[in-house]
C-alpha cells in the first residue's frame, strides 16, 4: 500500500531505522510511565517520547518525504520544535501542581511538605 | 445584465433577519430605541416580503406557483434549494405575523430584560423561515439548529430559576433530538445518496427491499426527532414548562416553533410516504394518528389540570399539535385542508393567549412578575435603566382583557363561530366524508376516535378556560387593574382580529388551504419544479 517505488534501499533502511528507534523509545517511555512507582518518577518517562521518540520519527518523515519528493522538505521539523517547546510547559505546571497537592496533604518525603503545615496554614479540608 | 432584485425574493425571509441581527450585534446594548426601530423595520420588511411571496404563490389562475431558488447556482439534487410554495409561504407569512405581534409586545418591557433580545429574536425568525423554505434535508437540520439555538437564548431571556430549570430540560431534550436528526439524515443519505427532499421522493419508490427497510429505519429516527419538536406524547413533557417559563413575547413566537415540527412532518410524510412511495406508502401513519390522539388526550388532561394560565396555554400547544398530527395520520386531502386551517388559527390563538396571560396575570400579584423578582435578586446594576415603561396606558383595560380572554377561550375550546370551530368542523366533516359529502362511505374507526377526542379536548379547554376566566375576572378582588400599555394590548387584539377575519373570509381561506392540500397530496408539481430548475448559464451572463 505504500507508494515507494522510487525509494532506494539505503534510504529505506535509514528511514526504517529512525522510525523504529523513535517508536521504540516512545514505547519504552510509555512502559516506564506505566511501571514507575511514584508520580515524580513517572514524570520522566514520557520525555523519551517527546525527545528522541519524536526526533526519530520526525527525522524518518523528513528523510522519506525529501527523498520521495525529490526535494528537501523539513516542515516536520516544526513538529519537533513545537513538541520540545510545549512539553516542558505541561510538565512544569503539572509537576508543580502535584507538588502542591502532595504538600497540602502532608505527604512524607516531599520537599517543602512541612512548610505548608505551619500554623496559620491549616486549611485543608480533605474533601476530594 | 442583472436580474431584478425581486428574483431573489425567496431568500429575503432568511436574509432580512440575518442581516438585521448582524447590525443589531454591532449596536451598543444601551441604544435600545435604535435597536427597536431596526428590529421593527426588519419585521415590516419581512411581512412585505412574505405577502409578496404569497401573492406570487397564489398565482393568477388559482394554480400554485412554486418558486425554486438554487443557492450558489447549483441545480437541485446537488446544491441547496429554497422552495416557496403555498405551504411554505403561508408558514413564512404566519411567522412574520406572529413575529411582528410578539416584537411589538416586547417593546413595552420585555426587550429590556436582558441583552440581545432583538438579535436572538431576529435569528429565531431566520431559523424558522429557513426551515420552512428549504428543500434540503440537511439544510433543514441547520435551520432547525439556528432556530433552536435562538430559542434557547430567548427561553433563558430574563434568566431566573424557573427559566433556567426549564431551559436545561429543553436544551437536553433538543440536543438529544438533534442527534436523532443527524442519525436519520445520514442514514437516509447513506441509503439513497441524496439530501434533496424532492430527489428523495423520486428515489424512494425504486429502492430494493433491503434498502427500503433501512431507509424506513432512518425515516423513523428522523420522525422521532420531528415529533419531539412537534410535541407528540410521550415526547412532549418538556414543552409546557418551557413555554410557560419563557417570557410572554417569547412564548408567543414559540407557538410557531412547535408548528415547524408539524410542518415538516406534513411536508415530508406526504412527499416521501404519500401514495407514490410504492411499498413504503403510508409508512408510520398509525404512529401519527394514535400518537396524535394520545397527545390531544394528554394535552386536554393537562389543560384541565393546570392551575396557572401559562401551563394551560402550554398544554393547549399540545392539544393543537396532537390534533394536527392525528389529522396528518388520517391523510386525506380534505382533512389536510382543514388541518391547515386549524394550524393557522390555533397558532394565532395560542400566540395571542400567551401574551394575554402575561397582561392578565400582571394584576394578580407582584410574584407573578418574574421579571421584577429576577431583577431584584440578581440584576446587575448596569443592566436595567431606571425608566419604567413609557407609553400610552390602555383605556378600559379590564373590559378589553376580558373580551380578549373570552375570545381566546372560545378559540381554544373550538366554540363557534371563530376559526377554532370552523377548522375542527372542516377536519371532522372531511373525515366523515372522505369522498365528499353525499358519498355514503363507511365511517372509519379512526374518525370516531378523532371525533371523540377532539370533542373531549374542546370540552376540557372550555371547562379549564371558564374556571380560569372566572377566577381571574370575576372572583378577583376589585380594584387591582393591571398597568397595560396600548402597545401590549394591540398585538393581542390584532391577532384575535385576524382570527375574526379568518372567520369572515373562511371561504377564501379554505379555498387556499384546499389547493395547498391538493399540492401536498400530489407532490409531483413540487418535485418537477425543484428537479427541473436549470442553472443560470454563466457564459450567457458574463458576456455583455
Amino acid at each position: 500500500m505504500i507508494a515507494t517505488t522510487d525509494l532506494p534501499l539505503w534510504a529505506a533502511i535509514l528511514v526504517s531505522l529512525f522510525l523504529l528507534v523513535g517508536a521504540g523509545l516512545t514505547l519504552i517511555g510509555s512502559i516506564g510511565f506505566l511501571r514507575f512507582k511514584t508520580f515524580y518518577e513517572r514524570l520522566h518517562a514520557p520525555t523519551l517520547g517527546t525527545s528522541w521518540g519524536t526526533g526519530g520519527i520526525v527525522t524518518a518523515s523528513i528523510l522519506y518525504f525529501s527523498i520521495t519528493g525529490g526535494r528537501f522538505v523539513f516542515h516536520e521539523l516544526l513538529i519537533g520544535i513545537f513538541v520540545t517547546v510545549t512539553t516542558p510547559v505541561t510538565l512544569m505546571l503539572l509537576a508543580r501542581a502535584a507538588l502542591h497537592r502532595d504538600r497540602s496533604e502532608g505527604k512524607e518525603n516531599i520537599p517543602g511538605s512541612q512548610a505548608l503545615k505551619e500554623p496559620g496554614a491549616t486549611l485543608i479540608d480533605d474533601r476530594k | 445584465m442583472t436580474t431584478p432584485l425581486s428574483a431573489h425574493l425567496v431568500i429575503a425571509p432568511i436574509l432580512i433577519p440575518l442581516i438585521t441581527s448582524a447590525i443589531l450585534v454591532s449596536l451598543d446594548e444601551r441604544r435600545r430605541v435604535a435597536k427597536s426601530l431596526v428590529s421593527l423595520a426588519a419585521l415590516v420588511l419581512l411581512m412585505a416580503a412574505a405577502l409578496e411571496l404569497l401573492r406570487i404563490a397564489i398565482g393568477n389562475g388559482g394554480e400554485t406557483v412554486t418558486t425554486v431558488y438554487a443557492l450558489g447556482n447549483w441545480p437541485a439534487p446537488f446544491g441547496i434549494v429554497l422552495v416557496a410554495d403555498r405551504l411554505s409561504v403561508m408558514m413564512v407569512l404566519l411567522t412574520a405575523i406572529l413575529g411582528l405581534a410578539s416584537l411589538i409586545f416586547s417593546l413595552a418591557r420585555w426587550h429590556r430584560a436582558g441583552p440581545y433580545f432583538h438579535t436572538l429574536f431576529q435569528l429565531l425568525l431566520m431559523g424558522l423561515n429557513g426551515a420552512f423554505l428549504t428543500g434540503d434535508l440537511f439544510n433543514l437540520f441547520v435551520f432547525f439548529e439556528v432556530m433552536l439555538a435562538a430559542s434557547y437564548g430567548l427561553l433563558l431571556h430574563g434568566s431566573g430559576q424557573v427559566r433556567v430549570k426549564a431551559g436545561l430540560h429543553y436544551i437536553v431534550i433538543n440536543l438529544g433530538s438533534a442527534l436523532l436528526f443527524l442519525i436519520g439524515v445520514s442514514l437516509i443519505y447513506g441509503i439513497t445518496g441524496t439530501l434533496n427532499m424532492a430527489d428523495l421522493a423520486t428515489r424512494i419508490p425504486e429502492l430494493p427491499h433491503e434498502y427500503r427497510i433501512m431507509l424506513e429505519a432512518g425515516a423513523g429516527v428522523l420522525g422521532v426527532a420531528f415529533l419531539i419538536k412537534a410535541g407528540m406524547w410521550p415526547l412532549n413533557f418538556w414543552l409546557p414548562p418551557a413555554y410557560t417559563a419563557a417570557a410572554a413575547p417569547v412564548s408567543a413566537i414559540f407557538a410557531m416553533m412547535s408548528k415547524l415540527g408539524i410542518y415538516i412532518i406534513l411536508r415530508l410524510y406526504l412527499m416521501l410516504f404519500g401514495e407514490g412511495a410504492g411499498e413504503s406508502a403510508g409508512f408510520g401513519h398509525y404512529v401519527l394518528l394514535y400518537g396524535g390522539l394520545a397527545t390531544v388526550a394528554f394535552g386536554a388532561i393537562g389543560v384541565l389540570a393546570s392551575q396557572a394560565l401559562g401551563r394551560l396555554a402550554g398544554y393547549s400547544v399540545l392539544v393543537s399539535s396532537g390534533t394536527l398530527l392525528a389529522a396528518i395520520g388520517i391523510s386525506g386531502q380534505h382533512v389536510t385542508a382543514g388541518a391547515l386551517f386549524y394550524l393557522v388559527s390555533s397558532t394565532l390563538t395560542i400566540s395571542a393567549f400567551f401574551m394575554l396571560i402575561e397582561l392578565v396575570e400582571r394584576s394578580q400579584d407582584a410574584g407573578a412578575n418574574v421579571l421584577a423578582v429576577t431583577m431584584e435578586a440578581y440584576g446587575d446594576a448596569d443592566e436595567e435603566a431606571e425608566d419604567e415603561e413609557v407609553g400610552v396606558l390602555m383605556p378600559g383595560t379590564l373590559a378589553v382583557l376580558g373580551v380578549c380572554f373570552a375570545l381566546c377561550g372560545i378559540l381554544l375550546a373550538g366554540l363557534p363561530p371563530l376559526p377554532g370551530f370552523l377548522a375542527k368542523f372542516a377536519m371532522l366533516s372531511a373525515m366523515f366524508n372522505p369522498a365528499g359529502l353525499g358519498a355514503d362511505t363507511p365511517v372509519s374507526m379512526a374518525t370516531w376516535w378523532v371525533t371523540g377526542i377532539v370533542i373531549f379536548s374542546g370540552l376540557a379547554a372550555l371547562i379549564a378556560m371558564t374556571r380560569a376566566g372566572i377566577r381571574t375576572f370575576w372572583a378577583s378582588i376589585e380594584g387591582v387593574v393591571p398597568r397595560v400599555l396600548v402597545i401590549e394590548m394591540a398585538p393581542v387584539i390584532g391577532l384575535l382580529l385576524l382570527t375574526v377575519a379568518l372567520t369572515l373570509k373562511a371561504g377564501t381561506v379554505m379555498a387556499y388551504m384546499e389547493e395547498t392540500a391538493r399540492n401536498l397530496h400530489a407532490p409531483s408539481g413540487y418535485i418537477q419544479n425543484v428537479l427541473g430548475l436549470q442553472r443560470i448559464d454563466r457564459k450567457e451572463v458574463e458576456t455583455p
Binding site: - | 433563558l156 430549570k165 431551559g167 437536553v172 443527524l182 442519525i183 439524515v185 445520514s186 443519505y189 447513506g190
Partner: protein, 114 residues
C-alpha cells in the same frame, strides 16, 4: 475495519446513552459529548470507509470519483461538529446557571423530586 468501527460506535453510543440517563448535569454533558462522537462517526461511516482516499483533488483537478471517499458525509460531519461544539458550550453554561440558581447539579434542579 467496518466491524471495528461499528463496535466502537456502538460502545460510544452505549456509554453516552447511559450517561444521558444519569441524574447529574455533568454526567449528561459528558454523555452528550460521547454521543456526538458516535453520531459524527456514524455520519462519516455512511459514506463508506476508504483508506487514503481523501477527497482532495490532485493538481490537475481531474479525478476518478471511484478512488475517492464520499466528501458529502464529511461536510455534514464538519457542520455537525461545529453545531455540537456550540450546543455543548451553551449547555455547559446553562447547567452552571442552573447549579448557581438552584444550588444543586441535579438535572431537575433539586435533589429528589417530590
Amino acid at each position: 475495519m467496518e466491524l471495528v468501527l461499528a463496535i466502537g460506535i456502538g460502545i460510544m453510543t452505549g456509554s453516552g446513552v447511559w450517561l444521558l440517563l444519569r441524574p447529574r448535569t455533568y454526567q449528561v454533558i459528558v454523555g452528550l459529548s460521547l454521543l456526538s462522537y458516535a453520531v459524527n462517526l456514524f455520519i462519516f461511516g455512511v459514506g463508506g470507509l476508504k483508506k487514503n482516499a481523501p477527497p482532495i483533488l490532485p493538481d490537475s483537478g481531474v479525478v476518478n470519483p471511484a478512488t475517492m471517499t464520499d466528501p458529502v458525509p464529511q461536510a455534514l460531519v464538519l457542520t455537525a461538529i461545529v453545531i455540537g461544539f456550540a450546543t455543548t458550550a451553551l449547555f455547559l453554561v446553562v447547567l452552571l446557571a442552573s447549579r448557581g440558581l438552584t444550588g444543586t447539579d441535579h438535572v431537575d434542579g433539586r435533589e429528589t423530586f417530590k
